[in-house]
Symmetry: C2
Subunit: 584 residues, 2 copies
Amino acid sequence: MLRERTVRLQYGSRVEAVYVLGTHLWTDVYRSPYRRARVTEALHGGFCRFTLTTVATQGSTHQTVTVSYYEQEGNSPIDQAGLFLTAIELSLDVDADRDGVVEKNNPKKASWTWGPEGQGAILLVNCDREVPWLSKEDCKDNKVYSKNDLKDMSQMILRTKGPDRLPAGYEIVLYISMADSDRVGVFYVENPFFGQRYIHILGRQKLYHVVKYTGGSAELLFFVEGLRFPDEGFPGLVSIHVSLLEYMSEDIPLTPIFTDTVVFRIAPWIMTPNILPPVSVYVCCMKDNYLFLKEVKNLVEKTNCELKVCFQYINRGDRWIQDEIEFGYIEAPHKGFPVVLDSPRDGNLKEFPVKQLLGPDFGYVAREPLFEPVTSLDSFGNLEVSPPVTVNGKTYPLGRILIGSSFPLCRPPTHPPVNEKAEPPLVRAVAGEVASLGGMSSKRITINKILSNESLVQENQYFQRCLDWNRDILKKELGLTEQDIIDLPALFKMDEDRQAIAYFPNMVNMIVLDKDLGIPKPFGPQIEEVCCLETHVRSLLEPLGLCCTFVDDISAYHKFLGEIHCGTNVRRKPFAFKWWHMVP
Amino acid sequence: MLRERTVRLQYGSRVEAVYVLGTHLWTDVYRSPYRRARVTEALHGGFCRFTLTTVATQGSTHQTVTVSYYEQEGNSPIDQAGLFLTAIELSLDVDADRDGVVEKNNPKKASWTWGPEGQGAILLVNCDREVPWLSKEDCKDNKVYSKNDLKDMSQMILRTKGPDRLPAGYEIVLYISMADSDRVGVFYVENPFFGQRYIHILGRQKLYHVVKYTGGSAELLFFVEGLRFPDEGFPGLVSIHVSLLEYMSEDIPLTPIFTDTVVFRIAPWIMTPNILPPVSVYVCCMKDNYLFLKEVKNLVEKTNCELKVCFQYINRGDRWIQDEIEFGYIEAPHKGFPVVLDSPRDGNLKEFPVKQLLGPDFGYVAREPLFEPVTSLDSFGNLEVSPPVTVNGKTYPLGRILIGSSFPLCRPPTHPPVNEKAEPPLVRAVAGEVASLGGMSSKRITINKILSNESLVQENQYFQRCLDWNRDILKKELGLTEQDIIDLPALFKMDEDRQAIAYFPNMVNMIVLDKDLGIPKPFGPQIEEVCCLETHVRSLLEPLGLCCTFVDDISAYHKFLGEIHCGTNVRRKPFAFKWWHMVP
């Protein structure tokens, strides 16, 4: 907000002007052209001094300022210049202190700072869908179809106080920049108590809106929605301005004499690590996974969350629900809701997120691939987030995002829409360790046969080196020690593309539901009718208070090169920690 | 750089491995599968302890690490695992301490910090053209045609020291990310002393390059060029990596066992304010401006810079050289040169910057319009930079950029390629003030006639309000006081688009050459054969040590709605202050 305003006197006459409380008027009579050009002539070489009466103060609507000119020795003014000031109060207000309520004229509303003491308002991308017959998210058009939609928006109040009407021709205008017009939308409710209509006043194709001045004390309520997530090319800040425009005469444009600005930061999309409590477990119903579904159902029933099944008419034969979507959420002081991020993968599950997830208070955002063609790196099995970590003294209270990439030279995968917590991509976390001496329980394959397969041993030595390279990166980037890492036995074989394929179900590809783990049943060698791999994994995890349930995913997932983790997806509770309390 | 590396022992045998000096090897025998799976069997339930001899130290190329296993009570080892280490030194080096010389293995080379104590290397966009027969800047292709071109690039050295050859199959690979491949290019000189060839090894379409290992102590010299200026979507940092890849066997891919990384920041384009000493003054030669040219030549001869005339076959009738281009420069510790920014305006002068300015150590960069259609706001008469200022305690040692925009709602102009010093656009600086009582010297128009033209008076009151609005913004954003502002008299009239047109030559549209000012000759009322406007302006500016030369631009510029400032352009010396010493 500009607090200083220059006004010009017109000597010998009184100028009418509107004065906004809180600003300082600046009128420098000594540097006026009058003194230099005309006063000296009119006063025959005399000097001038001036009297400036106090300017308008709160409570009085009109105030007069008079500048009187005297000859050097004289006592009665030989000329005067006056200002007739009409005082008004004008402020554009938002919830800059982040308590969920719009306060009045917060002095920090025009900037944005991080941290628990930070100030500046917050906006949600209105990416849910309140009414079922819309095909897209609420923010994709410039309409409001439901009162509930307003609850996703941030409130903004234009407060005015002053005379019954402004001097003729004055205008109050709300406006945004061209750059912000595809990032923010503003609505106004006409007739809020009777047959209300929602009017789109700023946003796409609408850069400004003239506000009706109603006189007295007035509060005009606006609703603001975000249209675009912050990402690499957009840090997330948008500004909305109000200006008071002064009128001079019909053929002359209006001039701004006061501007107030508010800044919003659009809330980032936030990923939820495994340690957050689960809300829903999603799994696809296939022709061939009845027994698996049943086992998953039993597992979920042990926990405090619910099972959501994606049926065949939607999944169309695609069981890899982990790869198609990533669950996250957005949050502002007034509201928050889950948001599903749709991957560029677009398999047969591609209609699932919009058709089954998008809805009231359930948002949706998609990301196009950064590079063509889409590869398996764009699948969201390749996108994870760590729990909160501290690395070299720097805290990541929302964790660090992990994105897999090929070493060293393949194209990087498409990044999630930014995330204040996002960091340079890391190689994917794989906590598994090759058990070069582990075995496979099968009627046809003996342990000795595996051990004597030299190329298999060598391939696993190679995969172990890849895992160790990842292990070293994770230790460095997440600040882990060896004690933070639990090695689970695994065995791989190499396919024709030299990619690793799990030889027996890869237990690291588990589903984590609080303390309950759904682990691919490894079918390892049995000792006294108990699988020694299960026994080993239990001995590693149960002392940590975790409960291991081994789920048979062989026929419906493992044989198609995935496990229970790839075939499920978990929506989790948001962090208790508020993202705006971070200091990035 | 990863300093920790996990290696796996193979029990009962000795593993060969290459070890890079400066890393720490990590081999946790207690958590090895051996102990858990086989050692316990082999040792009949015994425990193991281990001996780890010191790892390779500088000077010795090979070193052996032996882990011995004992029974709990026994003294002679019952099993051993060994590492046969070949030590090498490997570092990718740049001028991270910014003294113009590549140092050795700077520990801060993989990050980038601002300020006088900051570290991290700097890169120039190779936007000049060393050979005249190329149609574009040097960075537009992947070739080097001249040894001089290498001087624009930053040096990068790969230092290796070790045995005559690496173990069979090992490779050293330089690589960049896909995202950086259109931001950076790397060249290598083959046969540097005899018939050298310049080989493009990284950049567009080249993500990696296998480096020949030559044995002993070797320094491979590379040359790095920037391809893209930092801007809104690209902060300017690029990374180059080198990895040592370990070989296992023919059918197994290589695995990275060591990576070293260097980071460069691409130097921003920097604008030069009026206070910097002029180097060259550019002006167009037209059919109708012979006398003006002569006056400008006289003015320039008083100063320490040279006049450069753009002839008609290049300017093709376009005299507005201020609008077409903006001079600036780029700078790195090893090199710097001027760079002309070409506006999206593209009048008839559009071929001038590439044909006459681009050349050896004279760079070129163009900006496409952000929004169509191109308007007068995209002309660079609308782009200026302030001198260094301090605003509310924050210092801008390279000034603040000023970009004009219409109030409130027209589209913003295209922004210059980033500039670390760039700030939210301000309304254009106009230091003029309406002299409502000024006059026009003319045979046909008397002062009284002007004064009695009520609509002219009103229009000027309006323009004064616009100027005052700008004045208030400039005071706030540049931290100015009234004492910093000198008001020059001006008079405007309004055209059919309600734009201001100078009634008499607008003296604020001057050219500043050190202390010499070339001011549009105002042709004001004469008192004793001296123009009273010139007298007045001299009285304001000469006490500041400035020398006023009034240049007649009426017939060749003013009548086409511009003045000497619009018809000239000045290339200036760079700031003495280094941009990387800033703390943004």
